[in-house]
């Protein structure tokens, strides 16, 4: 560990020593814990500020536009302008709304997303709580978001929101499964649920060892975060922003922050699980974590810039008929490979071969079935005939 790599830890230790001179041991832990909470909040909220700007810029550049460029240098202050605008707006509660739930739901949206950050290792030793069930915690807390969305939509008393709720429940529940399977594959190989352990196990990033699981996890977390092309929950062109349709002012801002924090969570967890987390040469660990996370975030935004939205039934088909069986097969094959060949280089290589083989097999199967199919849509999707 180089000096820069360990710098945050050194500062923390120095602080501990400083506090230890005047406080009892539990007091030190309390203060350090509080500092960690504040740091987590900063780490979760700061990217939101950057991401609101970044999303506009990435979309704009993909569309030959400038994006925000008047508020501050390169439009960087636009997020603050947004915040001021949104905070000064009237907080409207519709008459048909269930008032208590309506007020409570926005907070519920934000909390799970923030909680996930506690188990993300952001650098060597830089983790708020290294739970031994870390990744289980992340997945479990992440799926709480669905309750918040049900609360928000149902209490709004709006038909568009109601439609949005139907969609979101179906979508979030079905994408839990492929996500869990892909995480399970990682856990199997790394031999532990702790996020730090998963990162340390990645001498070769797992994205190269088991690409199927990596891509599945990425897509499933896009669906969890309601990002394009799975943004049915929002569906601007049909259900007019769905679940946050009736919200305004500060409560809307909560959804907004939650959405962008979730993008960062996608990046952070994908990095942790599949891209080797904070591991990397030369640069300190937290820099690598940030670079990898931002790369994933860019892909999320890039996809939003390019693809249209899926339809709800096709979305569910995609999960249940393709991702779930594929990942189940992948899980078993990878388990077999690592049992036989060990978790060393040989096992990793074999796992990659098995993954590619599985993809080829599935592709061949789909092409074969499509050849005998009479459905125009199937033929177009698989064979490219129109």
């Amino acid at each position: 560990m180089g000096f820069l790599d360990a710098l945050p830890l050194t500062v923390m230790d120095w602080l501990r020593g400083l506090l230890g001179q005047g406080l009892p041991a539990w007091g030190v832990e309390l203060v350090v814990g509080l500092i960690k909470v504040v740091l987590i909040l900063v780490v979760a909220i700061l990217p939101v500020i950057v991401l609101t700007w970044l999303e506009r810029k990435v979309l704009a550049r993909g569309q030959d536009r400038f994006g925000p460029n008047l508020a501050g240098p390169y439009g960087l202050v636009v997020a603050f302008a947004d915040a001021i605008k949104i905070l000064t707006k009237e907080d409207i509660i519709p008459q048909a709304a269930d008032r208590q739930v309506f007020r409570f739901a926005p907070a519920l949206v934000l909390i799970p997303t923030l909680l996930v950050f506690t188990v993300v290792p952001m650098g060597r030793g830089m983790i708020a709580a290294d739970l031994n069930v870390g990744i289980l915690f992340a997945v479990a807390i992440g799926s709480l978001a669905v309750i918040a969305i049900i609360a928000a939509t149902w209490s709004s008393g709006n038909k568009y929101s109601l439609l949005s709720m139907f969609r979101s429940v179906a979508q979030l529940v079905s994408y839990e499964l492929p996500m869990a399977f892909s995480v399970l594959t990682v856990v199997l190989v790394s031999g532990g649920l702790s996020t730090v352990r998963i990162v340390e196990a990645q001498v070769i990033p797992f994205a190269l060892v088991m690409p199927i699981a990596a891509v599945t996890y990425f897509l499933a977390s896009l669906a969890e975060a309601n990002r394009s092309p799975f943004d049915l929950l929002l569906g601007e062109s049909e259900i007019v922003a769905g679940h946050n349709l009736e919200y305004s002012g500060m409560r809307f801002a909560m959804f907004y922050i939650g959405e962008y924090a979730h993008i960062f969570v996608i990046g952070a967890l994908t990095t942790t699980l599949f891209l080797g987390g904070y591991q990397g040469p030369i640069l300190p660990g937290y820099m690598w974590f940030l670079i990898k996370t931002m790369a994933v975030v860019y892909v999320v935004l890039w996809i939003r810039c390019t693809w249209p939205r899926m339809r709800i039934d096709q979305l569910l088909d995609f999960s249940w008929k393709l991702l779930v069986p594929l990942n189940l097969a992948n899980l078993m094959l990878v388990a077999l490979v690592f049992k036989l060949a060990g978790t060393g280089l040989l096992g990793s290589l074999l796992s990659l071969v098995v993954n590619v083989g599985l993809l080829v097999a599935v592709g061949t199967f789909l092409v074969r079935r499509a050849r005998s199919s009479t459905s125009r849509r199937t033929r177009a999707l698989v064979l490219g005939e129109v």
Binding site: R61, G62, D64, F66, Y74, W302, I303, W307, G384
Partner: protein, 175 residues
């Protein structure tokens, strides 16, 4: 075909993202504050955005902006004879003209132009037989009310600013 089309789409947007930094007349965040900006060459990629209040395009000579009066270089007055042709030609009744004098001596006394209702169709100019009015290059005339008007003096001043000598110069209609 099994995801190839989606990747091709991503490739196109990536190309656009990169070319927005590398090509196009306005790829740099610098703004051209000195004088009008020439129109960009037709292209499929690259940054073109005109940062409007800071930059402005050169208008085409035929651009139909605010109606102006042209000054007769001999008398220094408008050539308008208050023949009412423009008033009759206007689809929206934007113009109000009163004249004084008789026969060849007849001149416009007042000429009121309701800017807020004008649709810039140039039918008034087409109807003018006396080389008196033309559409200028100005387009930044925001009015908060429907009945903001320009009078003869203001329109003459605008005509001086536009540098137009004769009606239909840019339109190939001057004999």
């Amino acid at each position: 075909m099994l995801g190839r089309g989606m990747l091709k789409g991503l490739w196109v947007t990536l190309q656009h993202t990169i070319s927005s930094f590398t090509s196009g007349p306005r790829r740099f965040p610098k703004r051209y504050l000195d004088g009008p900006v020439p129109r960009p060459e037709p292209s499929t990629q690259g940054m073109l955005t005109l940062q409007y209040p800071f930059e402005k395009y050169e208008m085409w000579p035929r651009f139909r902006g605010v109606l102006v009066h042209l000054r007769d270089p001999e008398t220094g007055q408008s050539r308008c004879t208050a023949c009412m042709a423009c008033v009759r030609a206007c689809p929206h009744g934007v113009l109000t003209v009163t004249g004084e004098g008789k026969g060849r001596e007849r001149r416009a006394k007042t000429y009121t132009y309701e800017l807020g209702r004008c649709i810039f169709c140039r039918l008034c100019v087409e109807s003018c037989r006396f080389d008196a009015i033309e559409m200028g290059q100005e387009y930044e005339f925001v009015s908060t009310t429907q009945d903001q008007t320009l009078n003869l003096e203001e329109m003459l001043a605008l005509g001086d600013r536009s540098g137009i000598k004769h009606t239909g110069e840019a339109w190939g209609q001057v004999e």
